[in-house]
C-alpha cells in the first residue's frame, strides 16, 4: 500500500478554507445570470437550429430578449408565456422571433407561464434522466474497463474522420474518447450547428457532432464489449449550452473547470463563475463526470514549484462541485505529470504529488494528465516519459488516465501515435498490475516529506485566498502565474443582473434530482 502519512487536520483545514472561498463567490454571483445560461435554458426547452446566417436560434432569441430588456427576468417564463399565448413550441417561438414575425413581452399570466416552463423543463429532465439510465444499462450490459481508464483524444477537425479514429482507438483499448475542440471555439459566443468537417487542432463541439460520435461509440462498444465514454469541452463562453447539449446526447464526461476560462482564455470572472455553476448543475443531473483543468497550471508555471496551487485549486473545484450537486465519483479533479525530466529525483516528486491528491480525495474520480510541456520532438525519449507517467498512474491508483503521446510537441495525434500510446499503457498497467499493493514509501522519507510540504503550502495559500477572496487572489496571479481582474476579460457584456422576479425552472428540478 502506497499510503503516505498525512496530517488529517491540515487536510480538513484546507478543505474548510476552500468551502468558505467557494461559497462566498457563489453567494456574490447568485444575483446574476448570463446570456449563455439563458441560451442553455432555451436549448433545454427545445430551441435549436440556426438562421440563414448560421446564427443559432438560442442566440437570436436571447438577443431579442436583451433588446426588449426582458432577459433579467429569465428567458424561460417569457418564452413559455409566448408558447401558451400563440400555441407554439419553443422552437416555433424562436423561429418566429428570428423571422421578425414575433415580438416578445412579459407573459400575460406569469404564474401560468412559469408552470408551463416548469412542465417543459420537467420533460427535458426526464429525457436526461433516461439517458442516464441508458448509460447505466449499457454499462451493465457490455461492461466497462477497470481503472485507470484509458482516455484518448481525437482532433482531426472533421467529425467523420474523428469517428474513424475513435472507433479504431476503442478497438485498440481506449476506454474514453475525447473530441478536442477546434482552436478558438472557446471564445465563440455561440455554439456552431450541425455536423462539421473543418476545424483546426480539433473539431467543433456541436450537438450533431455529439450525436454522431455517441452513436459510433455505442456501436463499437457493443462490438468489443466495453462501454466507451465520450468526452467534450464544457468550457469557454458557452459552457452552459454545451452542458445542455451533452446532457441531451449522453456525453459521459466534460472538461469543466471553475477557473480555467478566467485564467487561460481571459474570460471574465463573473461570467465564468456564473456559467460554471449552471453547467455543473446540468452535468451533475446528467451523471456526467467533470474534468477540472489544474493540469494547465503546470504547463505555464513550474510543476514542482506550483504543486500546491494544483491542490488548492482542486479543493476549490471540489467545493464548487458540491454546490452544483456533483458527487465525488463525478469529480474528475485534474493534475499532471509535468516535472522537468532533467530534475534529479523528479519521479519521486511526481509520485508524491499524485499520491497526495489520491489521499486528499479518496473517492474522487481523479484525472491524471500526461507530460506535455517537457515533451520534445524526440519521440523516442517522449515515449519513455509517457511510460513513467503510466507507472505513477497505476502506482497511485488514478482513475482517468489521459494517454501521453510521443508526438505531443509535434502535432495532434496520428492514428499510430494513439496505437502506440495504448500499447505503452497496457504494457505498464499489466506488468505492474498489483505493484501498488506491494510498494510502501519510507516513513519520513523524501516522498512522504514532499507530500507533507505541498499539503502545508496548500493550507497556507488557501488561508491567504480566503482572506482576500478568490477574485483578488486570481488578480495576484496565484494560479499559473497569470493575473486577471474582476471586470477584465471577454464576455462581461453577457452578465446580467437578475431582477427580483428572475425565474428559471432548472435549478430546482436538477439540484433536487441529481442522485
Amino acid at each position: 500500500m502506497t499510503q503516505l502519512n498525512l496530517d488529517q487536520g491540515q487536510i480538513d483545514r484546507a478543505r474548510e478554507s476552500a468551502r468558505r472561498i467557494a461559497h462566498r463567490v457563489f453567494d456574490d454571483m447568485s444575483q446574476y445570470t448570463t446570456t449563455t445560461v439563458e441560451r442553455a435554458t432555451l436549448r433545454l426547452m427545445g430551441v435549436d437550429g440556426v438562421d440563414d446566417n448560421q446564427i443559432p436560434l438560442p442566440n437570436r432569441l436571447v438577443a431579442h430578449l436583451q433588446e426588449q430588456k426582458l432577459l433579467q427576468h429569465g428567458a424561460a417564463a417569457i418564452v413559455a408565456g409566448a408558447m401558451d399565448e400563440y400555441g407554439l413550441s419553443a422552437q416555433q417561438v424562436a423561429e418566429a422571433v428570428a423571422a421578425g414575425k414575433l415580438v416578445l413581452g412579459r407573459p400575460k399570466n406569469d404564474k401560468a407561464a412559469r408552470q408551463s416552463a416548469e412542465a417543459i423543463a420537467a420533460k427535458m429532465c426526464e429525457h436526461i434522466a433516461t439517458q442516464r439510465t441508458v448509460r447505466a444499462q449499457q454499462i451493465e450490459k457490455v461492461g466497462e474497463a477497470r481503472t485507470p481508464w484509458l482516455y484518448l483524444i481525437v482532433a482531426t477537425g472533421n467529425i467523420y474522420e474523428d469517428i474513424v479514429q475513435a472507433r479504431a482507438a476503442a478497438e485498440q483499448g481506449a476506454d474514453i474518447v475525447a473530441v478536442i475542440r477546434s482552436t478558438g471555439q472557446s471564445l465563440l459566443d455561440y455554439v456552431p450547428y450541425g455536423a462539421t468537417t473543418e476545424g483546426f487542432g480539433g473539431t467543433y463541439a456541436t450537438q450533431e457532432n455529439f450525436r454522431l460520435m455517441r452513436a459510433a461509440l455505442d456501436e463499437v462498444g457493443a462490438k468489443i464489449g466495453r462501454y466507451i465514454r465520450l468526452t467534450n469541452y464544457c468550457s469557454g463562453l458557452c459552457m452552459p449550452e454545451i452542458a445542455a447539449m451533452g446532457a441531451m446526447e449522453r456525453l459521459d464526461m466534460m472538461l469543466n473547470d471553475s477557473m480555467y476560462g478566467i485564467i487561460f482564455r481571459d474570460i471574465n470572472m463573473k461570467r465564468t463563475f456564473i456559467d460554471q455553476f449552471f453547467s455543473r448543475m446540468v452535468n451533475a443531473y446528467a451523471g456526467i463526470i467533470i474534468n477540472t483543468g489544474e493540469d494547465n497550471y503546470l504547463t505555464t508555471a513550474d510543476a514542482f514549484d506550483a504543486a500546491h496551487t494544483v491542490l488548492a485549486s482542486q479543493l476549490i473545484n471540489e467545493q464548487f462541485a458540491w454546490i452544483s450537486g456533483l458527487k465525488p465519483d463525478q469529480m474528475g479533479l485534474g493534475h499532471a505529470f509535468e516535472i522537468n525530466p532533467d530534475l534529479e529525483n523528479g519521479f519521486l516528486w511526481e509520485v508524491a504529488h499524485a499520491q497526495l491528491v489520491r489521499q486528499v480525495f479518496p473517492e474522487a474520480c481523479l484525472k491524471y494528465m500526461p507530460p506535455t510541456k517537457h515533451m520534445t520532438g524526440n519521440i523516442f525519449k517522449g515515449h519513455v516519459q509517457d511510460a513513467l507517467f503510466n507507472v505513477v498512474s497505476t502506482l497511485t491508483g488514478q482513475n482517468i488516465h489521459l494517454l501521453g503521446m510521443m508526438t505531443e510537441a509535434i502535432h495532434t495525434p496520428f492514428i499510430q501515435d494513439r496505437f502506440l500510446a495504448i500499447q505503452n499503457a497496457k504494457y505498464v498497467f499489466g506488468t505492474m498490475r498489483d505493484l501498488h499493493e506491494e510498494v510502501e514509501f519510507r516513513a519520513g522519507g523524501r516522498i512522504e516529506s514532499r507530500a507533507q510540504q505541498v499539503l502545508a503550502e496548500t493550507v497556507g495559500i488557501l488561508g491567504e485566498i480566503e482572506k482576500i477572496g478568490l477574485p483578488a487572489a486570481i488578480g495576484r496571479g496565484t494560479f499559473a502565474d497569470i493575473s486577471r481582474t474582476m471586470d477584465g476579460g471577454k464576455g462581461l457584456d453577457g452578465v446580467i443582473a437578475k431582477s427580483p422576479d428572475y425565474y428559471n425552472p432548472f435549478p430546482d428540478l436538477m439540484l433536487a434530482g441529481a442522485n
Binding site: 472507433r167 479504431a168 478497438e171 482552436t183 487542432g201 481571459d266 492514428i415 499510430q416 502506440l420
Partner: protein, 250 residues
Amino acid sequence: MTQQITENWVKPYGDTMNDGRVQLSFTLPVALDENAKEAARQLALEMGLDEPAVVHAEDMGQGFSFYVLYGQCKHRVDLSRIKVAKPEFETLDKDAINALIAEKMGRKMVVLGACIETDAHTVGIDAIMNMKGYNGHKGLESYHEVRAINMGAQVDSEDLVARAIEEQADVILVSQVVTQKNIHLDNLTRLSDLLEAEGIRDRVILVVGGPRISHELAKELGYDAGFGTKSYAEDVASFAIHEWTKRHAA
C-alpha cells in the same frame, strides 16, 4: 581565380559510412495481410530505400495497419551547396543591446508582441517578452532600453495593427504555435496584408516565432525574420537593433 567548392556528399549513417540506414514508420489504411505488408515495402522502395525491411507489422483494427521499416537510403545531399538563410546579426548580451539601442536610436525601442488570431499559446511569446524570461534568459521587459508590450493570447490582427500605430511600434513580434492544417500561414499572411493595407509595413520590423517557424519560412511570408525553438530575448533584440540600424543607415 575562381573559388573551388569541395563537394561534401552526406548520406544517413547506421553503423558504416554511407550505408544510408534510415528508420521509417507509418500507418496504412488497410487491414494487415501479406499484400499490405508488401505495399509498405514497395512504398519504401519508392522513397528510394534499398533493401527495405518491414521489421514490424501490426493490425490496428478498423481497417488500419502499422509498420516499422528500415532501409538504405539511396539519396544523398551535397552539404557544400547548402547555405541556410539566417538573419544576419551577432547575438549580443543584454548590456550590449541596451547600449546599442541607446547609441543608435537615442530612445527606447518599442516592441509589441502577441499570439495572433485563434492561437492562445502564450508561453513562447512570454518567454521572449516578459520580465521572467525562459531558461535563465531574461525577457525584453527587463531591458531598460526596450518598451515591451505583450498583448497576450488570441489577439485579432486588426487589434494588433491598431495598437502598433497607436504605440508607434518599432518591432512587432508574433507568435504562432498551432500549425495544424497550416492555419499559421493564413494567420501570418493576414497580418502582413493588413500592415501593407495600413501602409505601415515598412515602418516596422516584423518578426515571427514559434516551434515550427524557420527564418526561411518567415522570409517567404514577407517577414523580416523568423525564430524557432530555443530562441531567447537577446536573439530577437540583437536582430531588431541590427535591422533598425541597417535601415536607418542610409
